[in-house]
């Protein structure tokens, strides 16, 4: 029975689909314990203001209202502020961050009061009766202005808007740049993005007041991290807080956090002894859930006249927003080692300064640091190619790190496995490059209003967070391991417990495939339990494309331990030595005597009855593995975007989008393709459509789905996908992460294509998002006598 072949790498349809297709899923908003009270927050309309008074008296008198509190009223609830787990430098500035503001507000959306009522509507009505007296202060939202002389201070107590400056250098950077034939200097602005998981955030807390216990259901990617950190914020024993992430409707990093509303609902449940529920409205989510990106990049490449890159020098200014959320300061560091991308060189330096502004805090959004890094290097290498007279393909080939295993990079990492030219060549085979270039030349010659451009992105990224010792060296406040347990029930059915919980990625299916393949059991016999700290107490959760390459590997290794024990039991039952047994397709058989067999299910029953077990073996057939990876994984590939740009209107149409990705061994091709599709869509969205904008008073102008363009099916093309398979050397399964790769790769492919379409018109750069207006202006400014 070729179970392994059938299940791993094969076309297994998702086991989690039925409940999602029929409306039987349990999202947090659908959880309402009896007696639930609803919470509505009063949020500051000002970006910066002193709180003179917060008067909740009228709200308390409103129909249905059970309680109302200001930040000051709840100050005693907090044993510590909201969690921040990544102090990237010893001297980093870290402002107080309370679930409700106490003395001053720092961004439009900062919570100042909370109303608790018997219905959602009553809470919302009463919230409007809270009287807040603000004394508005000067504010700032743009990165550049934060460090200017005389800039208003986001947190006066800090005396500066600088959060930290972090630096890294490998090799002799100054000498490399001084001795280089060519130095390309580019400056890129990466706009602020709103993650927009389709499910707005929500939290429900049910207390057992007599026992001091709390169960919290939250729209979170990180139930385990939430449990330990919220226990600290609330000053309750971790053992008395159970956190459940039920069905979660998308995350993309926005739910990789621990939020004020979670702490508030816990505090209110503790104070009032009733179940407490808060559900964000989408417009509230726009200001109260983290944003992504928002940084200014300066990248310099030192190269020879032949286009060989010798060195990289990068300076970043990163917008932290008003407060530090869970990993806010560390997000740029996740990109800081990969500004060299897929390319070689002898010297590398990067310096990053984080700044505070009066804006919604930023934090990890799909890719977290790596889309920004990839954008910079993939744009800059195109530019270097132009300067030395090489096309985008040749400049990349000249600089690719060699294909191989454990390849050292200029950024100081060791890439697990590389085959960059292989992926590029596969993508070119799909493209028919010569035909596209011929069409481009023809349209240029004709002066066609619709010009063609081809953009490349031969990306490489680091994911699979992460070796715990590496995280320690970066001052991160947690480990990077993941846990799995495999348990055979008496009937031979299998329960898998994983510490990594899904919010769309299909863990249940992939984990079932891994288990069914390893144990030789039918896939329908495998149940996967996750997302509940009472069921899966050990876990490091889901982010950084880590689930398969850390959690899936933990599961694979736990299966190995189960098989070892089952083999001893089977040998005992067959009265042979374990070494005399072979195991395949769920069957232990005596070598050379193939009709003497025991099924793994039979060993499970024997382990349960425990009537006769090998000496030293305990009853039960169950094993756990906590896996700490020795390295990151480094997926890569080449994306090619072909655009048609209307030079009269500035409109950009994606004509073709080709993606060849390499994530090592593939467990479920359909799921991997789906991750790539969705990732590309978010990368294209950043390139062409999305940008969070503040006005001069610090009000978020793009504050709903009406004026922030989350693309629909009508705005996006179909994608042409293929893959190469270069197994990772980091883990025994040879797998790499794929959750973020599409987003990391896509934006530079699109913008490189737009610039390529307009290069002959004198356009040298187009910022993101490349809206029709921005493209049109770039064309006008490039005209002889234009304002550029």
């Amino acid at each position: 029975m070729a179970t392994a072949e059938r299940y791993v790498g094969g076309g297994v349809l998702r086991k989690e689909d039925p409940k999602l297709l029929t409306g039987e899923a349990t999202f947090v908003e659908s959880i309402t314990p009896p007696g639930t009270l609803y919470v509505s927050l009063v949020r500051s309309p000002y970006a910066s203001a002193s709180l003179r008074s917060v008067d909740v008296a009228a709200a308390r008198e409103a129909p249905g209202v059970v309680a109302a509190f200001s930040g000051g009223d709840l100050a005693d609830e907090w044993a510590s502020g909201l969690p921040m787990a990544w102090p990237v430098t010893e001297d980093m500035n870290h402002p107080d961050h309370w679930p409700l503001a106490q003395d001053y507000v720092s961004f439009a959306g900062d919570g100042v009061a909370v109303v608790v009522a018997t219905s959602r509507a009553a809470a919302k009505d009463a919230a409007e009766l809270v009287e807040v007296e603000y004394e508005e202060r000067p504010s700032l939202t743009a990165i550049e202005s934060a460090l200017a002389d005389g800039a208003p201070l986001v947190h006066e107590a800090l005396g500066t808007n600088e959060c930290y400056t972090w630096a890294l250098a490998n090799g002799d950077v100054d000498a490399t740049f001084e001795g280089a034939d060519v130095v390309t200097r580019q400056r890129y602005v990466h706009p602020r993005l709103v993650p927009n998981a389709m499910e707005p955030r929500a939290v429900v807390v049910q207390p057992v007041a007599s026992a001091g216990d709390f169960t919290m259901w939250s729209t979170t990617q990180v139930p385990h991290v939430a449990r330990v950190t919220l226990a600290l914020t609330l000053g309750i024993p971790e053992s008395q807080l159970r956190v459940i992430a039920p069905d979660v409707g998308g995350g993309f990093g926005s739910k990789l956090n621990v939020y004020a509303e979670e702490a508030l609902c816990l505090a209110l449940a503790r104070r009032l002894g009733r179940p407490i529920k808060w559900v964000a409205e989408r417009s509230e989510d726009y200001v109260a859930t983290i944003h992504g990106r928002d940084l200014i990049q300066e990248i310099e490449l030192a190269a020879t006249t032949e286009g060989t890159i010798l060195g990289y020098r990068v300076r970043l200014l990163a917008n932290m927003g008003a407060y530090l959320q869970l990993v806010t300061p560390g997000v740029p560091l996740l990109g800081a080692f990969v500004y060299c991308g897929s390319y070689g060189g002898q010297a590398y330096s990067i310096e990053c300064t984080g700044v505070f502004t009066n804006t919604t805090p930023t934090d990890a959004y799909r890719g977290a640091g790596r889309p920004e890094a990839t954008y910079a290097i993939e744009r800059a290498i195109d530019r270097l190619g132009r300067e030395v007279g090489l096309d985008p393909i040749e400049i990349r080939r000249r600089n690719f790190l060699p294909a191989g295993e454990n390849v050292p990079s200029p950024g100081g990492l060791v890439y697990d496995s590389t085959n960059y030219d292989g992926a590029l060549q596969r993508a070119l085979d799909i493209l028919d490059h010569d035909a596209v270039r011929a069409e481009q030349a023809s349209r240029r010659e004709l002066g066609d209003a619709r010009q063609i451009g081809v953009g490349f992105s031969s990306y490489m990224e680091m994911c699979g967070l992460a070796p715990s010792q590496v995280l320690a060296s970066l001052n991160y406040g947690a480990g990077g391991w993941e846990a799995a347990t495999v348990r055979l029930l008496p009937t031979g059915k299998v329960e898998v417990v994983t510490g990594s919980s899904p919010h769309g990625q299909g863990h249940v299916t992939s984990w079932s495939q891994i288990t069914a393949a390893a144990l030789g059991v039918p896939i329908e016999d495998v149940t996967v339990l996750h997302g509940d700290t009472a069921i899966a107490p050990l876990g490091m959760d889901t982010y950084g494309s880590r689930s398969l390459s850390v959690g899936g590997v933990a599961l694979h290794l736990a299966c190995g331990r189960v098989i070892d024990k089952a083999k001893r039991i089977a040998a005992h039952m067959l009265e042979v030595a374990p070494d005399d047994l072979e195991f395949e397709g769920g069957v232990f058989s005596v070598k050379g005597v193939p009709d003497r067999t025991k099924l793994i299910q039979e060993t499970a029953f024997a382990a349960w009855t425990a009537h006769s077990l090998p000496d030293g073996d305990e009853p039960g057939l169950e094993a756990s593995y906590v896996y700490d990876p020795p390295n990151f994984t480094f997926p890569f590939g080449t994306h090619i975007c072909v655009v048609e740009v209307d030079t009269e209107t500035g409109a950009v149409d994606i004509v073709r989008y080709i993606a060849v990705d390499d994530c090592g061994q593939v467990i479920n091709p359909q799921i991997v393709d789906g991750q790539v599709h969705g990732g590309i869509a978010q990368g294209i969205a950043a390139a062409l459509f999305e940008e969070a904008l503040y006005d001069e008073t610090g009000t978020l102008q793009t504050s709903s789905m009406i004026n922030y363009l989350v693309p629909s099916a009508a705005e996006l093309p179909s994608f042409e996908l293929d893959r190469t398979v270069t197994p990772s050397t980091t883990n025994p399964m040879g797998v790499k992460g794929i959750g973020e790769a599409g987003t990391i790769a896509a934006a530079p492919a699109v913008i490189n294509a737009v610039v390529d379409a307009l290069w002959h018109l004198g356009v040298r750069d187009v910022g993101m998002p490349a809206s029709p207006e921005r493209v049109w202006r770039a064309i006008q400014e490039a005209k002889p006598g234009g304002s550029g």
Binding site: R14, L21, G23, M198, E199, P200, G250, S704, I706
Partner: protein
């Protein structure tokens, strides 16, 4: 308060509601039909799409009182037992990931395909522009809707041949 009678998934429900109650809250909180999700507060995302007298509507832009005496279909009733070809096609083509937008996406697609059985992939993309998905990039949703359209057309042809 207003008294209304709404037929939901073939069953008539009598209820007394505040006039400002949105249909989506009526379905979720009065009737316990939590398969219809809420993704925004600006009628932008289509997550809460249901069928009213066979036409797709966003249940956040309809008041419960406007549904008085109307027939509604939610994801729980499409059909009540078994799967509609659209659900089957979303499963086979991996047209969902987190699944939050899926009930609304499926009902919008069912309504569209019924009226446009020969729609091309480009037509489908335009028709679904009122329904946002953040996970799939729409690639597999479009494939699923096109595949379901073919199945639904064949099914319609069969039932007219046997009628």
């Amino acid at each position: 308060m207003r008294d209304i009678g709404v037929i939901v998934n073939g069953v008539r429900h009598e209820a007394r509601v505040e006039p400002r109650t949105l249909l989506v809250y009526f379905l979720r909180e009065h009737l316990g039909l939590t398969g219809t999700n809420i993704g925004c507060d600006t009628s932008s995302c289509g997550t809460c799409t249901v069928l009213m007298d066979g036409e797709s509507v966003k249940a956040c832009t309809v008041l419960a009182v406007q549904a008085d005496d109307r027939e509604l279909t939610t994801i729980e009733g499409l059909p009540v037992t078994g799967w509609h070809p659209m659900q089957q096609a979303f499963h086979e083509h991996h047209g969902l990931q987190c699944g939050f937008c899926t009930p609304g996406m499926i009902l919008a697609a069912v309504s569209y395909v019924k009226e446009n059985p020969d729609a091309s992939e480009d037509d489908i993309r335009l028709a679904l522009e009122g329904n946002l998905c953040r996970c799939t990039g729409y690639h597999n949703i479009v494939k699923a809707v096109a595949a379901a359209a073919a199945v639904m057309k064949a099914g319609a042809a069969r039932s007219s041949a046997t009628a």
